[in-house]
């Protein structure tokens, strides 16, 4: 049998990312020393960290890095964190949610302060990324033939809690270049106090390349909110997500359970599995 035929997966193929596109999209990753420029409370349970990363090659919107902490006896703990910023600079923004019994997140949220040094490895991940000029290159789902040109496919972002971090990077990158691609963010939070990047998101929603923002409150809604707090359901996805018929590129990020549920419902609602990209943070 012919090689070409054999190599072509017979079913839908997100694997059709040409190596050249992947290599172009990602700067090579490596270990770097980051100096904490500042920290601030992002929400009652989360902190935002601004890092100056020595030798950072820049990163695409949606990528992550690994943070390695070392104790005096040499014991190390390493965790992944999405990057809320993108572009060529060496300043990198993280936002970390504190897990009550966590080993690393309480340290990053409560203990770290300006001037501290951290080891980071990155940038990492070349699939869960969005870039304005490379919407075409990044649009490697291989399902674009005959459709509208890649850059015009609308983008739907769906975040659970801290899963908003890489999606905020995408929305901010989109806003920064006044890209005309329609962007919509569905964001599930516990309460109004738990919205990350609340001011920035508000500004993006009012900007010239607008972001349509839909919030879902799971524990406490603002006064006068039309619906009572509840977790995202399939019905919510039906009304607050760009319909499958418009062929959005969808990015879903949050805890593993959140992502599993949302991605399954999206497929049930007719979204092409190849158009759905996911980042699972762990947990259940």
């Amino acid at each position: 049998m012919s090689e070409a035929v054999a190599q072509r997966p017979e079913s839908n193929a997100p694997s059709a990312v040409p190596p050249s596109a992947a290599l172009r999209a990602v700067p090579r990753s490596g270990w770097h020393v980051a100096t904490v420029a500042s920290t601030r409370r992002e929400t009652p349970n989360a902190s935002r960290l601004e890092l100056d990363v020595d030798g950072w090659p820049g990163n695409a919107a949606g990528q992550h890095l690994d943070v390695r902490l070392t104790a005096p006896d040499g014991y190390t703990a390493t965790r992944s964190y999405s990057i809320a910023s993108s572009g060529t600079g060496t300043r990198v923004t993280l936002a970390v949610d504190k897990l009550p019994d966590g080993e690393v997140s309480p340290y990053l949220v409560d203990e770290v302060r300006g001037g501290d040094m951290l080891e980071v490895h990155g940038p990492l991940g070349a699939f869960f990324v969005w870039a304005p000029d490379a919407a075409a290159a990044g649009d490697s789902d291989g399902d674009d033939t005959g459709g509208p040109t890649a850059g015009t496919r609308p983008v739907q972002l769906i975040a659970g809690g801290s899963g908003v971090v890489p999606l905020f990077a995408m929305a901010a990158a989109h806003g920064a270049v006044a890209d005309s691609t329609p962007f919509r963010l569905l964001y599930s939070v516990r309460s109004p106090d738990d919205v990350y990047f609340a001011d920035e998101l508000q500004r993006l929603a009012e900007a010239s390349a607008p972001l349509r923002l839909d919030l879902v409150y799971t524990r406490r809604a603002p006064d006068g909110w039309p619906s009572s707090p509840a977790r995202i359901t399939r019905e919510v996805l039906e009304t607050a997500v760009i319909p499958a018929a418009e062929r959005p590129r969808v990015f879903v990020c949050g805890s593993t359970g959140f992502v599993e549920r949302v991605a399954d419902w999206l497929v049930e609602l007719g979204h092409d599995a190849r158009s759905i990209r996911t980042e699972r943070y762990g947990g259940t």
């Binding site: 079913s11 997100p14 390695r68 902490l69 991940g125």
Partner: protein
């Protein structure tokens, strides 16, 4: 380059010799996926090995009729999670390759959903790899790669292709889906071959 992080003491010192560097023990099952979980019906399931000379095929019933092995092993996910003493049932790749003739030394594993990952053939033979369909005595859940996934526990777990549907023999090593997106071509957890 490593230096001590001010103010960090760490929680646990339950370092275990079975834990590769940079890994943390976790009780639950780590999930690394780039998209939705495909639903694959065993009635339509098929597993193939494609070589320069032809295709070897098994449907679900034929597959279940092969010699099935119990596997107790540790698994290591590139996202820094390890799980020790996991229990699987599956068919050894030695069994699957018993009647396969090939000069080709590299394998591209293909999955339902379109994902691919590359592994050298000698990393799959000699009791090192299985196609597993049971975890902890239960049918493997779709989220974890069911109905069947590759199990190559001595490499990072993304090499253990979920929803596996076939192996394509290749002359040269080529990056699969995960490797094109930043993961290491080989993926040995003991030398931390995480990323390129």
């Amino acid at each position: 380059m490593s230096f001590i992080t001010r103010g960090f003491s760490g929680r646990s010192r339950d370092r275990d010799d079975r834990l590769p560097p940079g890994q943390t023990l976790v009780p639950d099952f780590p999930v690394l996926s780039a998209g939705p979980t495909p639903e694959v019906d065993t009635a339509e399931w098929e597993f193939t090995i494609r070589t320069e000379s032809g295709v070897h095929r098994w449907n679900w019933d034929e597959f279940m009729a092969l010699a099935i092995e119990d596997v107790d092993t540790d698994i290591h996910c590139v996202t820094h999670w390890s799980k020790l003493g996991t229990n699987w049932r599956g068919v050894s790749l030695d069994t699957l390759f018993e009647h396969v003739e090939t000069e080709r030394e590299f394998v591209m594993a293909h999955s339902y959903g379109g994902y691919t990952t590359n592994v050298p053939l000698d990393e799959l033979l000699g009791g090192k790899a299985w196609v597993a369909f049971e975890f902890d005595g239960e049918p493997l859940e779709p989220e974890h790669g069911g109905p069947a996934r590759l199990l190559v526990p001595h490499l990072y777990f993304w090499k253990s292709a979920k929803w596996v549907r076939g192996l394509l023999m290749m002359d040269e090593d080529e990056p699969g889906f995960w490797e094109q997106n930043g993961y290491h071509l080989h993926g040995d957890p003991w030398t931390e071959e995480r990323y390129w």
